[in-house]
Symmetry: C2
Subunit: 532 residues, 2 copies
């Protein structure tokens, strides 16, 4: 035990604003809310490195150990996300006498508002909030969302609120690329200014974190949570370009940073861990390094937030059991029928195609999809039982890309993505019907609705003909509506199909067909009639 004669002072922060005053009555925290305790203490050494602090939170047979962290200015904190209502007690453990053995309790109460808990995996390939509300990821990417000062950051958040997107991928470390600003307002480590080389921007005290940086990060995550937006946080990336050196830290520093981050953020319910963007372009790290980093998160995060690692050209070993889903970069896989489903079948996990090229007008080949093409890629993913992510690289007069800072959305895809999202929220998750026998454009919803997507081929008629693998009894009835995915219309046809299995194919008993408006990007929604 490290000794100290400093006075210990205990403050308690609660996440329910009405109860934030200190009081002797049992404090209340929402289920999936955040309980925070903090302690003042002046360390004898480097408080980030030398002082340990954990607490065990107990409810009946449940024992959850969380790591505390040093928050600067002599403040140590511990955070906990209760996942069960009722009384919780805790007791701290520390190598500093004054922080050791402190105990207390609080009451966990029902969640309120848009608090549905963290997102989990559902039915192997899909997602749900912990309270059972289905979640369909419609994410966007704004790499430098964090690295802008307050007024811009607010604009970005407002833009996000008024978009279809319920998930955002952004980087912890700043990036130095086209369209980025070299001067982010905060940086994660303490700067070292050496006399020898005063302008060296890569000289950091890697044993001293900058709590101000992390508090800003946390503020953003909470703002997102308040709007029901998941934070898919990119923990490492290869876009440093020698500016700060955060892509080339030692493995020990990587782990030190990661465990500090997890100690601070695991109690935020809307956090997803994204180990990296384009992990395979981070040349300083080996596959073994990644395995260790993934394992460190799995061991330190008591809540098992969703966790993935995003590839550049080489897919990661997505079968790693600590990865909840595969976060894939590859536009080709949602470009044409029959591809998107293959990775789902290979990994037996949910697939999010987080990067399929962006709607844009820049010269880079990843940044000039048309709105039609990006919308098409969303439908390709959806019909295959997978999910697709958005990004926008349209240069306005201000040269600010949505992809970087997340401010103005200028593209044509977002409104169509909203339309698709509304549709999926009505039908429920889609499952591909048969991946082997040419029914690549047919999916069935959880309610038994059938969706057929026609892609870029113009269609003027469709004869009812479905694979036998749909496995519905003869006489199943469907009401048919025609979807124009680009013009965002759903038009009832007043036709009803009634099934019969004939020669291994499910047909309409009267061999009926429907007229279609001879356009691209159409779909048919066959709503199963449960009662006549």
């Amino acid at each position: 035990m490290r000794k100290s004669n400093k006075i210990v002072f205990i403050t308690v922060f609660l996440f329910v604003p009405a109860l934030s005053a200190m009081c002797k009555a049992l404090q209340k925290v929402e289920k999936w809310g955040r309980y925070e305790i903090s302690f003042n203490h002046i360390s004898n050494g480097n408080p980030f490195v030398d002082d340990t602090l954990t607490a065990i939170f107990i409810q009946n047979e449940k024992n959850i150990v969380v790591r505390g962290f040093y928050d600067g200015n002599g403040l140590y904190a511990l955070r906990f996300m209760p996942c069960e209502t009722g009384l919780w007690t805790y007791k701290t453990r520390s190598n500093v006498d004054e922080l050791n053995g402190i105990s207390g309790s609080f009451a966990c109460v029902d969640p309120s508002g848009n608090n549905h808990g963290p997102v989990r995996i559902r039915k192997q390939y899909h997602f749900t909030y912990a309270d059972g509300t289905h979640f369909y990821p419609f994410g966007t990417t704004c790499y430098s969302f964090l690295h802008q000062a307050d007024p811009q950051s607010e604009i970005a958040l407002n833009q996000l609120i008024n978009s279809p997107f319920n998930k955002i991928r952004f980087c912890v470390f700043p990036q130095s690329q086209d369209y980025t600003d070299f001067n982010p307002p905060y940086l994660p480590f303490a700067k070292i200014t050496t006399e020898k080389n005063p302008g060296d921007s890569t000289a950091w005290d890697y044993k001293t974190l900058n709590p101000v940086f992390f508090r800003n990060l946390e503020k953003r995550i909470d703002e997102l949570a308040a709007q029901g937006i998941e934070a898919d946080i990119i923990l490492f990336h290869p876009y440093d370009e020698g500016c700060w050196g955060f892509d080339k830290m030692s493995h020990e520093t990587d782990l030190f940073y990661l465990r500090y981050l997890v100690a601070r953020l695991a109690s935020f319910r809307n956090v997803w861990w994204s180990l990296a963007n384009e992990y395979d372009f981070l040349n300083a790290k080996s596959l073994t390094d990644w395995e260790y980093l993934i394992a460190a998160i799995a061991s330190d995060d008591p809540y098992k937030h969703l966790c993935s690692i995003h590839n550049g050209k080489r897919y990661y070993e997505n079968w790693n059991p600590n990865l909840s889903h595969a976060s894939i970069q590859n536009g080709a896989l949602v470009e044409d029928f029959g591809r998107a489903v293959i990775l789902r079948d290979a990994y037996h996990k949910p697939i999010i195609y987080d990067e399929v090229c962006y709607e844009g007008d820049i010269l880079r080949r990843w940044g000039n999809l048309s709105g039609e093409e990006l919308t098409h890629r969303f439908w390709q993913g959806m019909i295959a039982g997978t999910y697709v992510g958005h990004g926008e690289a349209i240069v306005g007069s201000d040269s600010v890309l949505h992809l970087i800072y997340g401010r103005e959305l200028r593209g044509q895809a977002p409104s169509r993505i909203q339309f698709l999202k509304n549709f999926i929220e009505k039908t429920g998750a889609l499952e591909p019907v048969d991946k082997f026998w040419k029914a690549y454009n047919v999916a069935v919803s959880e309610k038994g609705d059938v969706v057929v997507y026609f892609g870029a081929g113009k269609m003027s008629e469709w004869s009812f003909s479905l694979t036998r693998d749909l496995r519905v009894p003869d006489g199943t009835k469907y009401e048919v509506e025609v979807i124009d995915t680009w013009n965002m219309t759903i038009t009832p046809t007043m036709k009803t199909f009634v099934t019969v299995l004939k020669d291994g194919v499910i047909k309409d008993v009267e061999n009926k067909a429907i007229r279609l408006p001879n356009k691209k990007y159409l779909a048919i929604w066959m709503r199963k009639v449960t009662k006549i």
Copy 2:
């Protein structure tokens, strides 16, 4: 140690016929040949179950332990495949005194004839014989190859010799399906005839194997080896249909059978282990059962023969490190561009699409591809850096399918497969150039030749335009030949392309194009000119 007073008699069989006589001189066995020792002994119990026998073979620092087996009629045998030339010594270990501690030695000499050793993985996605000779798997499937009597079996072998196929998938256990005969000449276990139910074909003494069955299997494998054909042996399958019950044995019996088989066959250099056909249709086995069976092979096979497990509808966890490659059933993946490569990228292993539907004329949807379509699928696989397997379900007047017994080949695909095989042997293995950016039909050979395959679209002209990911210096020269994959012609064009990188695309310096004969199934072979 189990005791016995019977006389032990040692015989030595060698696989080099000229040396097969017993002699005191040091016996010689080819590298990757088979050294066999056998011992006579009358067991006190059940020799399959109660008597253990292993031997350690030693050369310098190399120590290889092999398991022996009981071969019936009081004969115990041990087999060893030496993978290094020079002197080898051995010593037996057994719980039977008379079989224990026997030692000897032999000389391993250079291989001869078509003995290139067992097949191994090369450059992550391809194959090679152990001696470095490249191996391009062009396999066929004849499930009941083993389960026919001698004259038919010989016809099947001769058919195979005169075909393009250098690998055959066949089942150990007999199958009961359309076009199969219920009466295979040999069965692997001793029959139990109960008075109560004399006609019960599923009553077996699962502790007593039938060596005659296995000797017939071995004879077939050796016949294949003599012709340079790999035996991709299917160890379990779901086509028993209640006839024998071999698909529903206990896990202990499965393991017992498997370890006996491995003890007998591991020393055959042309053996590949295929855990199952359509493993997921074997309802009596769980994923854990398969994991154990795969691990048993890995632990008992000292030579690490290629090992895979073939799926029905659900891909196996092909990332299992004991699986050398993924043996895939899925026709859709080689039906159109951009799909075949995805599993390769997912698993980071060689992919053999062993079942992509068959050329045939039967009603089953898996058995009625045209010769054109099956040939196309072979090219689709090849252009993606993967391999494709053949099967034929064309019913002749005798109702014998090649797919079942491997006798007469009636299809149009085999000659085209031979053409493709000759081509690949000339170019070397193909690697896809770029899987993300629409160059799905372009591959590059190890020599730097570029192959473009056009599939089912008719082509009358092609402008030289290649992805920058080919990464060749400006001024690289190619001589262009046009391949008609169906009519099996390679026609020089007398044109030479000279590269220049322009706007991110590799073009010809003079923007040259070539005329093509406006047909389906064409390809272009651009042979890199290394010296002018």
